[in-house]
């Protein structure tokens, strides 16, 4: 039961949010589909940006170690900070692309 508690909580609050929004905004199924697609695109954008940050970060650390002898640990890339900053980056980039698509 412990393992299912969080997913059940998410299903419950999602359903409540869906019903409330449906009643107040009167959206149709197409709106929901577009919202889900947009969310998936944003996550995809985050994956690309995160991957790019990790690859570039690794390459730069190895280059700095090689060229200067200065030691930077590869573990600096493992923290939550990079994940959070990358989420912000992805959010801005994704909205830029969306604005561009609308024009």
């Amino acid at each position: 039961m412990d393992k299912l508690y969080v997913p059940l909580l998410i299903v419950f609050t999602s359903l409540a949010g869906y019903l409330y929004t449906k009643r107040t905004l009167r959206f149709d199924r197409g709106d929901l589909r577009r919202a889900i697609n947009g969310t998936l695109e944003f996550i995809g954008c985050w994956v690309v940006v995160y991957g790019a940050n990790i690859l570039l970060g690794l390459a730069l650390i190895l280059l700095i170690r090689q060229l200067t002898g200065f030691f930077i640990s590869l573990y600096v890339l493992k923290g939550v900070l990079l994940v959070l900053f990358t989420l912000l980056q992805a959010l801005v980039l994704y909205h830029l692309w969306c604005v561009h698509r609308r024009e």
Binding site: D2, K3, V6, N37, T39, L40, E41, F42, I43, G44, C45, W46, V47, V48, F71, S73, L74, K78, Y94, W97, R101
Partner: protein, 207 residues
Amino acid sequence: MGRRFSFHPILRTLGLLCVLGVLVTAYTPLPNLLAQSLAVSSNVRPADAIVVLGAGIHRDGTLGKDSLRRAVQGIVLYRRGLAPVIVFSGPSYEGSPVEAEARAELARQLGVPEKAILLEGRADTTAEEVEHITAQLRQRGAKRILLVTSSLHLPRASSRFERLGLKVFPMPVDDLPLSTDGPDGRLALMVYTVREALAQWLYRAGE
């Protein structure tokens, strides 16, 4: 006129794969199987030295939980009489005390005699740890070591020691059990497994 290329379907597919990946990782034994395929299991035997690899210390001198766990395991092996000396490794991290010295202090307080303790506090990477420790142990004529580190770190660490001529008996110590079955534990295990797989690949590429 041709249609303009759009990134959106690619991003959507990546996003979907990411969500599915998280669900599969959290709710199936996939991370356990991957971790177990990379890990080295325990083979504890009498040796010439116990080597406890570094794992991190906080700036205030508190040993990180991996570091503490490994140090305690090394001390237990010593107290069982499995080797006459114990090598503590671990440098200073950005102004922190030297990890090896903090572990040695713990060992002294737990009854390990001063003459049985060796320190390696300069190495920043696993490769450097292996080089420095092997040099110290060679002077003492050591040929077999009991190596204490995490089960996913053991493959690259022990292969380095063996390349320098030492016989390694592995003693894995894990903060996160490879059999963990909670969703959070499995996600953390997957991240750790992928990181170690990447590190192993980088080590092989650098050789």
